[in-house]
Amino acid sequence: MDEFFIRKATLNDVPFLVETIIEAEKSGTDKLSYSTVFDLSLEEVRKYLADMFNEEVDGCELSVSSFLVAELDGQVAAAASAWIEGSEGISSSILKGNLLSYILPKKCIQKATSLNPVIRDLHIEYTPDSIQVGSAYVSETFRGKNLCGLLISKQLKFLSQIRPDISKVFAQLFECNLPSIRMCEKLGFKTVMKIESANEEVLHYLPFNKKILMTKELFIK
């Protein structure tokens, strides 16, 4: 097998991280919530996601520091994010909300606010003092090498060393995202919660109307 170099992401990786967020959000569908919920074109989504990454806020899904990347011969092949929830005394949802409200035009916020009653049913709270697995993506050329599994395993090892007291890891996935669900199962994750929106309108804005919460117990020394 090729020898991939695993490292922390840097600002130079932002274009790849943007694609990671976009592809992970789509969950194998063509529905990009950043585009549908905020009424943005794909190019606008790319621009604003890059702007948010470049703010270098730590501790959420839009943090460069939450990502590990795998590269081969200097080419980034895959990325995956994970972070310790609420490590700075502020939840990752609030940090993300801060970035969105600071970077996005006000018209986007109004649009998202009007849709909140439709999409809120599929919101799952993050658990403080746990590890949250975020987005993962492998570029097409490098698929079939379990790079996402490798990156997430490295993330769990790395974050467990920082916070050995943490005993649980969580991942939230749309139920349609079967490849990612299978990957998590191979890593030892089990489904502990399923939620469903009865509002069919949600399918206009999100990849699916069912979401699952998966968890894995960490070995505590």
């Binding site: 939840s91 609030i94 801060n98 409200s101 996005l104 909140n116």
Partner: protein, 79 residues
């Protein structure tokens, strides 16, 4: 603006955003204590606060707001 007046106006904003007329603000209140305080409702909350008090937060201000007391202090500093 006096702190009491600010808290009164801020309470009205919170009640509007979270659609909860019995919501009372304390310095120690955090997002974990309020139903539906997620990233989207937080965006709306920040926008409503900026409009109500005619201020504009910097990102570093926003990221210092761990509890409502921090939020009140930062708003006060901008008035």
């Amino acid at each position: 603006m006096e702190r009491t007046e600010l808290v009164s106006k801020l309470t009205a904003v919170f009640r509007k955003v979270f659609k909860n007329n019995s919501l009372n603000l304390t310095n120690e209140l955090t997002a974990n204590d309020v139903d539906n305080w997620d990233s989207l409702s937080h965006m709306l909350l920040i926008t409503e606060i900026e409009n109500t008090f005619s201020i504009k937060f910097k990102l570093k201000d926003l990221n210092k707001m761990r509890k409502v007391g921090d939020m009140i202090d930062i708003i006060m500093s901008k008035l």
